[in-house]
Symmetry: C2
Subunit: 154 residues, 2 copies
Amino acid sequence: MELDHFDRKILDAVQRNNRLTTEELGELVGLSATACQRRLKKLRDAGVIEADVAIVSPEAVGRPMLMLVSISLERDRSNIIDRFKQAIRKTPEIMSAFYVTGEADFVLLICVRDMVEYEAFTRRFFYENPDIKGFSTMVVMDRTKVSFAVRIDK
Amino acid sequence: MELDHFDRKILDAVQRNNRLTTEELGELVGLSATACQRRLKKLRDAGVIEADVAIVSPEAVGRPMLMLVSISLERDRSNIIDRFKQAIRKTPEIMSAFYVTGEADFVLLICVRDMVEYEAFTRRFFYENPDIKGFSTMVVMDRTKVSFAVRIDK
DNA sequence: CCTGAAACAGCCTCCGC
DNA sequence: GCGGAGGCTGTTTCAGG
């Protein structure tokens, strides 16, 4: 899908706040509310906007600890990787997962209540996935940027 | 803020889709639309819901490459760390940034158009931050889980 | 592809429970 | 605290440029 100047401005606004009224949005980007609304629908239908979500505070729901875990697998065979991705999808402690090149094969972002829950997670997850060669845990002390906002040229 | 069973169900629903009508939400959690609506407002006001955002496809806006970059700083002095966090906030290529313990000091999630843009970013960013001791790039080949959905007990 | 008006849906305030 | 009725705000459709 082709994006023009207005689409980009709209995306930039809604990726920060998707509860703006189309009127406010129109003001922001210099279009009528109706036009914005039509463009938004198109952007959603085309999958340019993948989802509309509320960001929930992990602390507020009792899971204040974030961990980044880098994982190496025994082999890079594609069925092993696919099986591992399956396991990721089924594991609720995992917020985000990246399959990467470089020092690790996967990097996971984990959200847990405390070290007890984290230890339980590692035991279970690594027991269930015998292809894991090794892993390294980094405890997140602070997240400076929160969401997944993409840089958008205008 | 105290969260009951219903609040948790609401959070679990809206962190996947915040465009449900209060009616649909009510159906889902077993309350009236009005009650959901009241609870949602409270959750937003209390900061349990930190933000409401649209997730934009990096590919669709022309920045299909994601990189995870782990960074080590020369020293762990707090003013160095604060200065570094400042720099992060000002840098639009950085989607997320975590200050961590362990193998690295920071882990950044970077979103760029191509390797050319990435190289320009590293040159600039590392030139502007002389306290960086070293870094390691992992190119993201696939993201298995996208958003920041937290596990919520019900 | 834009704007503006009119019909419609969903939200929110008030009130009784 | 919950749920229902109504006014109100925002969205959507439609006509015209």
